[in-house]
């Protein structure tokens, strides 16, 4: 097509104009881009740099080392020992199932462990290590190391595991640790982040649980650089955690282990209290269990055998178990009477073998009766009628008040699980709880530690300790935390006249040392360590009039769970009390025949700080005692070897 130059010129000018216009627009847009870049990179740079750091840096917690637990002499009760485990990084393993099968040929894997590992694998990204087996032996570790080429992605790792080298001896006091469960977390308000570490171990029961905060310490942290997938690229820095505080208990591991062995397989509890400062020297519940089983994860079968055992090995009978104290309560009734001026020590009551109270007949344990009974004889021979009479005169409120003074019916604050308060009731309590008026019959029952009255072995030991020392001794379990001594439990002098206490102590001495005393057969004959005690046999069933008429069935002929509880409280040396002991044997039968020998042996063991000389025992018992000492020594040696093998 032909064009005129004029035409051309005008179209060219137009083109240039529009080009410049469009070019200008483009330049303007480029300017806008530059402004935007400036806004993001200069004005908002700090904010975005922070976001980039947040993207890239992850804080990972480092579990702190748990505080260790020692006995008063520095013997370790709970320690952290290296434990070996096998971990697998699924990504490196490749064919996960084949690798697991290979491993299974080397060391049989637990079905439960495998199940858990598979669940974990499904949940976490493939580059995170999964624990296959925990707490394995060195032998297994070496097998895995030798066969490494057949096991890609598998590495042995070493960590710290909680071990209780003394096994069952401290199972009830110290308890055990276990991995945090969802249930644990749900109970804690605003749980610390450290609890979210997989398989982090916390105290589950006992001292471990109660002192969790002190033992746990503070978590450390490391800052790691992660990529968009969460894979750790490198560690930037780390701040080590603060280890938990080491704790020293007032307990004596030697004594504890002796007592545990002495209780044997009875369903029983024993508490040994230092009356000078409230230190618990031993606090044993029997039968016991191995807390290490729980740390590793107890098998269903083992757990069932523990829960289904009628002797309740998992229960801590020393502080959780409450029993009618029976005649061991008589010191309380006696002191209530003396303090309130109702009786004097010399005053006698007449015991014909029973007492009629508002038309109901209350029997003394001795059908024939004790005749004239004063305070000393009432305790020595454990006359019931004396106390029926006394209690009616003094009234339940005064008895309850005295019981509280002596540490019954109040909860002692110990770092152990479910410490029971027991019960020392008064009128107000019955109308509040049962909506009924307190009857004089209730007072009669209470006077000899039956009926509503309930006390734990710990409370009985405290009661005995307070009578022995005349001070309001408070039990103490922690001697020191990280070397800092805890306050003593010596307590203030009791608001009870020393003369009255002395009368009661003298009567308790008679129980153990007078030929007619109920505890005479379990006496100590070494001078300077003479003991004073009181037996108790508490009924767990009602004896009906008909049954009484037909003759009370002897304990031996009853099924175990209906037999009487056997109790004994005592202290020694009489002249200068050092230790108070309470022993309860569930359904053991008679307190003087079953509980008293145990209490005596335990007391001697504590007094001599080891095996006592045979001379401390009455001559007729020595052969039997010698055999028993040898048997217990053998058992303890055997057990020590077993737990020693466990750790190796």
């Amino acid at each position: 097509m032909k064009r005129t130059p004029k035409d051309q010129d005008s179209s060219h000018r137009k083109l240039t104009r529009r080009t410049l216009l469009l070019g200008g627009l483009q330049l303007g847009f480029a300017g806008a881009l530059a402004a935007r870049m400036r806004f993001l990179q200069v004005d908002q740079a700090d904010q975005f740099r922070l976001l980039a750091e947040e993207n890239r840096i992850n804080i990972r917690l480092i579990a702190p080392n748990r505080g260790e637990i020692f006995d008063r002499n520095g013997v370790i009760i709970a320690q952290n020992t290296p434990s070996y485990r096998i971990v697998m990084v699924p990504e490196d393993a490749g064919d996960v199932e084949r690798v697991i099968a290979n491993l299974n040929r080397l060391m049989p894997l637990d079905e439960e462990d495998l199940e858990r590992a598979h669940t974990e694998m499904r949940r976490s990204p493939p580059f995170l290590p999964i624990t296959l087996v925990d707490q394995i032996s060195w032998d297994d570790i070496s097998k895995v190391a030798v066969n490494a080429p057949a096991l890609p992605g598998i590495t042995p790792e070493v960590g710290l595991a909680r071990v209780y080298p003394l096994g069952g001896d401290f199972a009830h006091v110290v308890g055990y640790v276990g991995p945090v469960s969802d249930y644990d977390l749900s109970k804690i308000e605003d749980p610390e982040p450290v609890l979210r570490i997989p398989r982090f171990q916390i105290g589950k029961v006992g001292f471990e649980a109660k002192q969790e905060k002190v033992l746990r310490g503070a978590a450390g942290a490391k800052r790691v650089e992660v990529n968009a997938m969460g894979r750790v690229m490198r560690e930037l820095d780390r701040r080590e955690g603060e280890a938990g505080a080491d704790m020293q208990l007032t307990l004596d591991a030697e004594l504890q282990s002796y007592v545990q062995a002495r209780l044997g397989q009875e369903s029983a509890a024993a508490v040994i209290l230092d009356v000078e400062n409230g230190d618990l020297r031993a606090i044993c519940s029997s039968p016991s269990f191995d807390p290490n089983l729980f740390v590793r994860g107890i098998s269903v079968a083992d757990y069932r055998s523990l829960t289904e055992d009628p002797y309740r090995p998992l229960a801590d009978k020393t502080v959780q178990g409450t029993y009618p104290p029976g005649s061991t309560f008589k010191m309380v009734t006696a002191l209530a009477g003396l303090e309130n001026g109702v009786v004097s020590p010399e005053e006698t009551a007449w015991c014909p073998g029973h007492l009629e109270v508002s038309g109901r007949r209350f029997h003394c344990w001795k059908r024939a009766g004790h005749g004239h009974v004063d305070l000393l004889k009432s305790l020595e021979q454990s006359c019931d009628v004396y106390y029926y009479d006394l209690a009616i005169k003094v009234g339940i409120d005064k008895i309850s008040e005295m019981a509280n003074k002596l540490g019954l019916g109040i909860r002692h604050d110990l770092p152990m699980s479910a410490v029971a308060a027991g019960l020392a009731p008064n009128r107000e309590w019955k109308s509040r709880v049962h909506g009924q008026e307190w009857l004089v019959g209730d007072t009669v029952n209470a006077s000899i530690g039956q009926g509503y009255i309930l006390a734990s072995p710990l409370q009985l030991a405290v009661m005995c300790g307070r009578i022995a020392s005349g001070r309001s001794v408070t039990p103490r379990l922690i001697k020191s935390i990280d070397g800092v001594e805890e306050p003593s439990g010596a307590g203030e002098p009791l608001d009870i006249s020393e003369a009255h206490l002395r009368d009661v102590r003298k009567a308790m001495y008679a129980v153990s040392n007078n030929r007619r005393g109920t505890g005479y057969r379990s006496r100590i004959i070494a001078d300077g360590v003479r003991m004073a005690g009181k037996s108790g046999t508490s009924q767990v069933r009602n004896i009906t009039a008909a049954e009484r008429a037909a003759g009370v069935i002897s304990n031996r002929d009853l099924p175990w769970e209906r037999r009487d509880h056997a109790l004994y409280v005592c202290f020694a040396p009489f002249d200068k009390p050092k230790y108070a002991v309470a022993v309860v044997v569930e359904h053991g039968g008679g307190g003087s025949s079953v509980a008293a020998p145990i209490a005596r042996d335990v007391l001697l063991q504590a007094l001599y700080n080891g095996t006592p000389p045979l001379e401390a025992y009455p001559a007729g018992d020595r052969r039997k005692i010698e055999a028993q000492q040898e048997r217990l020594e053998r058992e303890r040696l055997k057990r020590r070897q077993e737990s020693g093998n466990d750790q190796a």
Binding site: L22, G23, L33, M37, A45, F48, R49, V226, A228
Partner: protein, 379 residues
């Protein structure tokens, strides 16, 4: 002035043509590509594989193609414009019918070892076609409805085909570049006002169509628009790209975190860090200074193109140069807007810098045409 009126002796011949190349433009292109090389080396973690080496080879090949194209007289390119456009259109149709499916879209066809993306080709041939058309059309008829309708058809047919692939980004680029050439060629203002109003109407219609059976664009495209409008809505899903990209850019600050020190790209927080989002790596590691340097190079390339276009009296040369420059501008403007959170995420690479096959080759070939216009300018 038509090529027929060129005086053969007024244009350089033989090897002398090399002297008449627009060398500053060649250097600017090389500079932009070098920025790309640096970044590809960095995002690979300091390695020439897997991206830098093939990119270098492609660039050298592309420069060769550019020089070869530049040596060929501009009137040859004008003459084959219709043929080139038709070929590209046929290839687009072929993709529609036989193309391989990649990344959820039909975008390329395999021609032996070469993977050809016809939409790339179309960006250039459409500009050539329109330039040739307005070179042929007398200036006084430019705004006549029939002669306006014809180029509109030339633009819409390929746009529609690309949209069907579906490739929203490229179809918008085609539309914008075609419209740009028409505007420069002198089509009356009123048409543009009308089209822009219609476009606004269309956008409204598209949004209205959402969720109905006749929905006009794909769900994922809607989602991209949604997340563009509010990236925080879906920070780990589709909004992730924009959020992470802004974080990378912003954290670069004034002078950047240093070469190979960008945490966002090195730790894979950035998506497609070697292709569409490569600018964020640059901005993270070299900061505002680095970003501005690249932007300046781009602006200078546009300025040189505009200067070349204005200085020639040949209408085809001007239009084709400006059209290609506009295309180039749209590439980087859309890409940068996207990574800076000013536009939705559409698959548009950063020209000469992003890792990519046919895009770079086609672009350098197109600059070859601009060079040819410069070399064969009557003096």
């Amino acid at each position: 002035m038509s090529y027929l009126e060129y005086h053969a002796k007024s244009t350089p011949t033989g090897l002398r043509k090399i002297l008449y190349l627009n060398w500053p433009l060649v250097l600017l292109l090389a500079a932009a590509a070098s920025v790309g090389f640096l970044m590809l080396y960095s995002v690979a973690g300091g390695s020439i594989s897997p991206w830098l080496e093939p990119q270098l080879k492609r660039f050298l090949l592309g420069i060769g193609v550019m020089l070869a194209v530049a040596m060929v007289p501009i009137w040859f390119w004008r003459n084959i414009s219709v043929l080139a456009y038709s070929t590209a259109l046929l290839l687009l149709l072929a993709v529609e019918l036989f193309g391989s499916v990649g990344m959820g879209a039909q975008r390329w066809i395999e021609l032996g070892p070469v993977r050809l993306q016809p939409s790339e080709l179309m960006k250039i041939t459409l500009v050539m076609m329109l330039a040739a058309y307005y070179d042929w059309l007398p200036a006084n008829r430019t705004s006549q409805p029939l002669f306006v309708f014809l180029p509109v058809l030339l633009i819409l047919v390929p746009t529609f085909l690309v949209l069907k692939q579906p490739d929203l980004g490229t179809s918008i680029l085609l539309l914008a570049a075609g419209g740009g050439v028409m505007f420069i060629a002198g089509v009356h203002w009123a048409y543009f006002v009308a089209v822009i109003s219609a476009a606004v109407g269309l956008v409204v219609t598209v949004f209205e169509s959402r969720g109905t059976p006749w929905q006009l664009i794909k769900d994922y495209q809607f989602r991209r628009i949604d997340t563009f409008l509010d990236p925080s809505q879906d920070p780990l899903g589709a909004g992730y790209h924009i959020t992470q990209s802004k974080i990378a850019l912003g954290s670069g600050g004034w002078s950047g975190r240093g070469f190979m020190q960008g945490t966002q790209s090195r730790l894979n927080f950035l998506p497609e860090k070697h292709t569409d989002f490569i600018f964020t790596t640059l901005a993270e590691e070299f900061g505002f200074v680095g970003g501005m340097t690249l932007l300046s190079i781009y602006v200078l390339i546009i300025v040189f193109c505009v200067a070349t276009a204005i200085s020639t009296k040949d209408r085809f040369s001007s239009l084709v140069t400006l059209g290609i420059a506009l295309n180039f501008f749209l590439f980087f403007a859309v890409n940068m807007s996207m990574v800076m959170g000013l536009a939705p995420v559409v698959g548009v690479p950063l020209p000469l810098v992003s890792y990519g096959g046919s895009a770079m080759l086609v672009l350098l070939a197109a600059f070859g045409i601009i060079q040819s216009a410069n070399v064969h300018r009557p003096r």
